[in-house]
Amino acid sequence: MEKEILEQGLNHNRRKFLSRLSLGIGSVALGSLMIPDLFSGKSASEEAIMQALPHFAPKAKRIIYLFQNGAPSQLETFDYKPLLTKNFGQELPESIRMGQRLTGMTAGQSSFPLVGSYFEFNQYGQSRAWISSLFPHLSSVVDDLCIVKSMHTEAINHDPALTFFQTGAQVGNRPSMGSWLSYGLGSENENLPAFCVLLSRGKGNGQGVYSKLWSNGFLDARHQGVQFSNSEDPVLYLSDPDGMTRDQRRKMLDHIAAMNDLNYREFNDPQITTKVQQYEMAFRMQTAVPEITDVSKEPDSIVKLYGPECLVPGTYAANCLLARKLSENGVRFVQLYHQGWDAHDNLPNQMIGQAKDVDQASAALITDLKQRGLLDETLVIWGGEFGRTNYCQGKIAPANYGRDHHPRAFSIFMAGGGVKSGIVYGETDDFGYNITENPVHVHDFQATVLHLMGIDHEKLIYKHLGRRYRLTDVHGHVVKDLIA
């Protein structure tokens, strides 16, 4: 009897339970209809955001970033300050410096004498932009340039400033801009890496570049920048060893892939498939890279356009030419670094050499992209990690002086890729020390670059260690005035 009652109770409960359960299942089903990724374990919003990349119609498809490593002086290039020449040797007024911190290199100086540009400035093009005599070739393409004179940054020394520009944070370990774009937009051409790095070095005082600058940080390893070597063989270890035919290589890869597949079935580790894909890409690169690095098919006039140095591997000119070739073959982000701009002393002399290295080839790159109809979809960026002081570091003479690091105001330029052409944006005071108009912070610059690529900088995120990361961290505003 008791058992019966118990069973009765249980039956009743089971029925009740099941009938209620059906309602419950219904509600869960409805819930999953409204939140599609409810059971996929992924955050719906993050997935949706990534799937919708680019977030809107992009203006630029590719970027070539000509990083002038060591920080070229804005006062000898794009920011014309006749007052500094007029007040040569006079003390930097405290009302201008406003107690700003200086580097250890000049903080101990007993005086801060102003020094003007050794080089003459003239106005060029329809924009009447002021450019110094160091850049005769860039002056001739001034109407394609979007010069920003009001950049400012937070770091005052090379490494943190460079890292800040490239990764959005002064400490290392974050993904580089190129890695973010590779992650967000992928490669156009799957036979090449989406992010390539080319290094060159001028004769001026140099500062190192480190592979952390093109690191993938916490993103998947395939987003890391691929550094091209300065030799005749730009991608190392790409050629087959002597005695190995392409067929043998193919067979070897097939066997490795089969073994990796066994492993994958056992462990389900996505890194295994990534690895297999990387092997396959390397195999395709074996034909794609020689096609690109072969300059023999370039017309003769290219040598005159870029300058004869462009045929000497490892020079800035050669890297500009290679950058154009990589870019037109669908490489999303080509990052150049040209070292040697850190002119703490002997600045005029050092800058003559550096400018000679970069002026013609930088202008040539713009002209070359333009004459192929590619400038509209390729964003070219030229600039350093900060600017240089308006006062002299060390001994002062009109033709021989030095300048220390200056993060408060400096100049860069962009061209093509949906930025306005033939404009000069932002203004600094007569001393070239502080920004008086339209400041552009490094994060603003990054936000703008992402915007040009069709990406909302607030939406390109990656969740890592429990927080969402962005290139612009929690900052940055798109500078609409720069966008055509």
Binding site: P54, P299, V312, Q371, R372, G373
Partner: protein
């Protein structure tokens, strides 16, 4: 219990009060003078209305359950609900005297009144047959729902309820098509203003849902005064402080953004027109700038998307086919990898021919390939054919293409026969035509024929004359035993390389022409330069290669080098090891304060004819040739000074490099040699360290 019935008694009586008041308001509402406190009561309408709606519907539900014991409860609910409906109707009628009119209002008003009277009717007749009850309650429910719906339309806008279900025809407009009013101004009014200034809810007697209303203005004055924003009432209102009662949109509503305010202001400043196109505005006007921020210059497309599967199928490692941006039906096609190019793969594109707007075939080997498939793309706007060896004949297939806007045909050596084809594209805007074979005349002609087209003929190298970069001398060893091989390279394969071994400067006529690696069997200075037509001859490259000399019997270094640069002392000078081009390498003897003085004692019968001294030069590091180089020979009975060449002079800062001092020795009998090298005392004026002392660095002394 008694009290309870009392309440019902009063509530029943109240029903008549509400009914009567409603009738009075219906018939006498037009002449109603509403005092302020009554107006407040009227404005309570949107708050109260939810109570009768819910309670009456509950009553209907209770009646429908049909159990007898519930019926009584249903009647009580009905009584309460009908009373609340009375309050609501009265408040609504008062509110309606404010700025409301239109169909929605009329339907809402009359349905509301009807629901009041139906509920009163049901209450007093609910003892009748259950069939009649079911019918009448159903009618009540229906009328209530409709009343609510029309009311919601009044506050939230027409079609508020079904808007998510209605197919949205949001055609994206591009800059070419955009109209100032329809696409810039009207959307702002619609999202920020029209909810209150429209048919049915004409706040301030202003209607912004029709052009005539905008032109007419409202109770307080004209909405816009064409050409004069500051006289326009809207301009004043939107710029009032947010706290101001007159500020528009009201404080708790969505506010205008700065950009929207700017657009409205500029629109009025431009004359507040209703049919102007953005593209007709001069491009430097603020309104055009604002518009260009909003509308992409890219075209919008009205053709249907291709199925994602079809598009996916076209993608492989060497061809990418994808929408120009997410959601766009338009596709772009790019080919990569010229060695993998298969001309037949072009035919695959036919499956999405209606969607393709851009094709990139740069560097693909198109020689002789049939390009008919390109002419079968009705929406092709951009075609890139740079360096594809395409011919004018192949491009004929595109002749007259009406959609083509941008064409890139650089690097194909196309001649004048292409001109009629280019001329045939009616909508061409950009032409990239670098590396054509057109003469200047033909270029001019093409430019004038295609007057609206931006043509880029690209970089013209013919008038540019630059200096060649120097050739590079390559060798295995700087210091060799018997002989060594030298080669000279230049990155431009077509240049002439000339060189000399006699220390003269190479020239383009007389110096030997380099044709391949050549041997050297004595210490030599190789100087070379590159020459080419249309180029300035290069700077020179210079290398000194050293043949190992004979060792003397012994030596005596009379003056000690600077302690920082003493290497291994005097033996360093005869060890047969060439130092590196770096004065700190520990292979160089450095002198600055005093001159280097050295005596060399020869082996018996060793009668050298020539003596050479290996120097390092690096002006940047203050390392110069010696100011004075003096040589003596002797045989134990005093010294005889030798005549020597004038001293070597540095004229500018150069990279660290090697050089040689050379001294011929007379055919005389001597068994010892003395050398004195005096460092430069005052650096020349052109040097940053002008006036300071210089250095001399020596690594090796050779006897031949």
């Amino acid at each position: 219990m008694r009290q309870y019935s009392n309440a019902i008694y009063w509530l029943e009586n109240l029903l008549f009060f509400w009914g009567g008041l409603t009738l009075i308001l219906i018939f006498g509402g037009d002449s109603l003078q509403v005092p302020a406190w009554v107006q407040v009561l009227g404005r309570l309408h949107p708050v109260i209305l939810h109570f009768p709606l819910v309670i009456l519907l509950m009553a209907v539900g209770v009646f429908w359950v049909g159990e007898k014991s519930w019926k009584d409860q249903g009647r009580k609910l009905l009584l309460l609900g009908a009373n609340l409906a009375g309050v609501t109707v009265v408040a609504g009628l008062i509110l309606a005297t404010e700025d409301y009119e239109g169909d929605s209002l009329n339907w809402h008003k009359w349905l509301g009144i009807i629901s009041l009277f139906i509920s009163i009717g049901i209450y007093f007749s609910s003892k009748k047959s259950s069939k009649a009850l079911k019918f009448s309650t159903s009618a009540l429910a229906l009328v209530l729902v409709l009343t609510g719906h029309f009311g919601a339309n009044l506050t939230h806008g027409e079609d508020f309820l079904f808007e998510p279900l209605l197919a949205k025809e949001t055609k994206t407009v591009n800059l070419q098509e955009a109209e100032v009013f329809a696409h810039l101004v009207q959307p702002i009014l619609e999202t920020k203003c029209v909810a209150c200034h429209k048919e049915g809810k004409i706040k301030g007697e202003l209607r912004l849902d029709q052009i005539s209303g905008i032109q007419k203005g409202g109770k307080s004055g004209p909405f816009v005064v064409a050409g004069d924003p500051s006289a326009s009432l809207f301009f004043q209102r939107i710029h009032l402080p947010l706290e101001d009662e007159e500020h528009m949109p009201p404080k708790n509503k969505a506010q205008l953004t700065d950009e929207e305010m700017e657009i409205l202001e500029q629109w009025v400043a431009q004359g507040a027109t209703f049919d102007q196109k953005v593209s007709d505005l001069p491009s430097d006007t603020p309104l055009f700038q604002l518009a260009s921020n909003r509308f992409s210059a890219e075209s919008s497309y009205d053709f249907a998307s291709a199925s994602a599967d079809k598009v996916e199928k076209l993608n492989n490692f060497f061809r990418k086919v994808k929408p120009i941006y997410p959601g766009s039906p338009a596709l772009e096609v790019a080919y990569f990898g010229s060695s993998a190019f298969d001309p037949n793969s072009l035919n695959d594109l036919k499956s999405v021919k209606d969607q393709i707007v851009k094709v990139n075939l740069n560097r693909m080997p198109l020689k002789g390939v049939n390009l008919d498939v390109l002419s079968g793309l009705p929406h092709l706007e951009e075609l890139q054919l740079n360096f594809s060896e395409v011919s004018s004949n192949q491009l004929k297939t595109l002749e007259g293409n009406p959609s083509l806007r941008r064409l890139a045909i650089s690097g194909n050596s196309l001649g004048p026969e292409i001109i009629p084809i280019l001329e045939s594209f009616p909508n061409l805007t950009h032409l990239y035509f670098w590396q054509s074979t057109l003469s200047d005349e033909e270029k001019k002609k093409l430019t004038s024929l295609l007057s609206g087209v931006e043509i880029d003929f690209g970089f013209d190298a013919s008038e540019v004359v630059y200096q060649l970069n120097p050739p590079k001398i390559e060798y295995k060893q700087l210091m060799f035993e018997n002989a060594t091989e030298v080669s000279i390279k230049h990155p431009i394969s077509t240049v002439q390389i000339r060189y000399t071994l006699d220390e003269t400067e190479p020239d383009s006529l007389n110096s030997p022409l380099y044709s391949g690696p050549f041997p050297i069997d004595k210490t030599s200075t190789i100087r070379t330069k590159a020459f080419a037509a249309e180029w300035i001859s290069s700077a020179e490259d210079k290398v000194v290669l050293f043949k190992k000399g004979n060792s003397p019997k012994s030596w005596n270094l009379l003056t000690l080098p600077n302690p920082k640069y003493k290497a291994n002392g005097a033996p360093t000078l005869f060890d047969g090891i060439k130092g590196k081009a770096n004065h700190t390498s520990g292979e160089w003897l450095g002198y600055s304060e005093q001159a280097m003085e050295l005596e060399i004692f020869l082996e018996e019968g060793q009668s050298p004819k020539n003596l050479k001294i290996g120097l390092l030069l690096h002006e940047g590091a203050y390392i110069f040739p010696p100011e004075k180089a003096e040589y003596w020979i002797g045989n134990g009975n005093g010294w005889k000074k030798l005549d020597s060449d004038p001293p070597m002079i540095s004229e500018k800062i150069q990279e660290a490099r090697f050089d040689l001092l050379s001294q011929n020795l007379p055919q005389e009998d001597f068994d010892r040699i003395k050398i004195k090298l005096s460092p430069i005392q005052r650096l020349p004026a052109w040097h940053p360290g002008a006036g300071a002392k210089g250095w001399v660095f020596v690594d090796e002394i050779y006897l031949y």
